[in-house]
Symmetry: C2
Subunit: 332 residues, 2 copies
């Protein structure tokens, strides 16, 4: 790495932006200067980085002069409008929105999985969807060992993946539910407290966008269009960390013991698989951790080469801010 | 039906027993007399049936004189000890525990699916596990239409399936979590508030008992050992109603539209599948309902004959007490 970089964080006041600031400090990312950018509404807010107050500035097309690295997580439409400008000004953009992920010329990168493609970038690298990232970290070593024919995944995703305000709404709804009061519906169109529900919008196929992301991004990251993916993505009343029930059909047989051996030595993976001793990954324990936790590895006898895994990761860290920073760390 | 029956409810003070009393009244089951039985600890408690107080008696081997029908839901070990006596005394036993479900001579019955086998009983009929019952009601019409090769199911099960006290512990843990206090662990070995976790105990295969039940009971009820079943059963912080993400591989292709048509006319099923209008089954809405709700019917393009369904039912009603009463209603 160069001695230090002029960094801009777009969407600094959001849940991912907040985690980004924590992690840049925690990992001693070589920050020469830090520009915090957000919408007009949030401009003027004061955030802290390593105990220093920084005033949030309004994002404009003039924001990227004298910036080396941009981390963007203010939503796809914001990225679509502003990130091409950042690239034009010469910045390296790590974009944590869906805006460019499926563009043919944009590398879609999980460092443990396909860091090689990141080096072919044209100024912008896309960070995958949170639920995809953690699944990829867990599955790549298995893919390399025996190949993957098909994935059937059902998710248990935390509300922080929607927004920081969704977290507050779950707190509010929970209190209302316990007190028997009417449930406030603002960020969610349905009760989220003591309930499970789906993200929206839904497409003509019946899939929602989150499900389509898991299907398409998995194939792009593994660079293998032959993999079948079926995804059912579900939001649960959990604040932080996504859990995933992953069923695999591999090309060659892998025993549970062999899978544990492979994952025990895999980059970014923390194996935690002793259920008879109540040891398996739990969302409340994995929140705040950097690794992708894998447990409950079981052979699935319903097909010849079947495996089940339980994959849990902090959606704001490895699922978003951490993965983006790791891309930059590897590249710079 | 005969004019009326002398009914005994074993485990009357539990969550399922409670729902049983509600439903016997609600459905005007022809009750000549009602005996409420429970452990020594609960004997003497007073419950109400149709506004009449009834004192709970201690369950003994002498409890079944003058009883025509026994509904038992006090746990497998209690059923193993006492239900053979009830059968010997001439009662018809509908047993809602795992004690006899897999016995070759015991019919395992979901009325909408295999009422025919109930008529071969030797005095005792087993009520399947809650998570199996709702899946069977939803899948039988599809099985009849095109055959089912394989099921991959991940569940989102409510805590009331554990016990009434588990419900209270979720309330307590939720309050503690919101107040930042230490979490009480009594009914659960782990935090259940704002978390997802697995039932225990776990077997050598790595499956837990709930998962094994779904696999074995599905094959027994459909009377088809060729069906592959992979189950991952997960407890979520929901009070009532289980949700299930069900992925099917059928023998012949069924479109989403054809599946909707089939399920729209299926006994015990309520189709609710207009997600773009936010219409799909939600646990909080299905709690208290009798039908099995099915929505989010999607073709799964990852295999030739793939389908996804979202199946939700009240685990204490259709998943337990209602199914047991329906068996008796059909049989008497």
């Amino acid at each position: 790495m160069r001695e230090s970089y002029r960094v801009a964080v777009v969407g600094a006041t959001g849940a991912v932006g907040n985690t980004m600031l924590q992690l840049l400090a925690e990992r001693s990312f070589p920050v020469a200067s830090l520009k915090l950018l957000a919408s007009h509404r949030s401009a003027g807010e004061i955030l802290t980085f390593k105990n220093d107050p920084i005033v949030v500035e309004e994002l404009t097309h003039d924001s990227f002069a004298d910036v080396d690295v941009v981390f963007s997580s203010a939503g796809a439409s914001v990225s679509r409008e502003f990130m091409p400008t950042a690239v034009d000004k010469g910045a390296l953009v790590i974009d944590n929105t869906s805006a460019f992920r499926m563009d043919q010329d944009t590398p879609l990168v999980v460092p443990e999985v396909n860091m090689d493609v990141a080096r072919t970038h044209n100024g912008l690298i896309a960070n995958p969807n949170c639920s995809t990232i953690q699944m990829m970290v867990a599955l790549k070593p298995i893919y390399d060992a025996v190949g993957i024919k098909r994935i059937v995944v059902s998710t248990y995703q935390s509300v922080s993946g929607k927004s920081g305000r969704a977290v507050l709404e779950l707190v509010q709804q929970t209190t209302e539910a316990l007190e028997g009061k009417p449930i406030t519906l603002d960020k969610f169109p349905h009760q989220m407290a003591f309930n499970v529900a789906f993200d929206w919008p839904f497409l003509d196929s019946g899939d929602n966008e989150e499900e389509v992301k898991m299907i398409n991004e998995t194939r792009k990251i593994l660079n293998d269009d032959t993999i079948g993916v079926s995804a059912t993505t579900v939001r649960v009343p959990v604040f932080f960390a996504h859990s995933e029930s992953v069923n695999l059909e591999t090309h060659k047989k892998l025993t549970a013991a062999e899978t544990r051996e492979i994952l025990n030595n895999a980059p970014g993976v923390k194996l935690m698989d002793n259920p008879s001793n109540q040891e398996y990954p739990l969302a409340v324990d994995v929140a705040g951790k950097d690794e992708v936790y894998v447990g409950r590895i079981r052979e699935d006898a319903s097909i010849e080469n079947g495996l089940n895994l339980w994959v849990v990761a902090d959606n704001l860290r490895k699922g978003a801010a951490l993965n983006a920073i790791q891309i930059a760390e590897n590249l710079l």
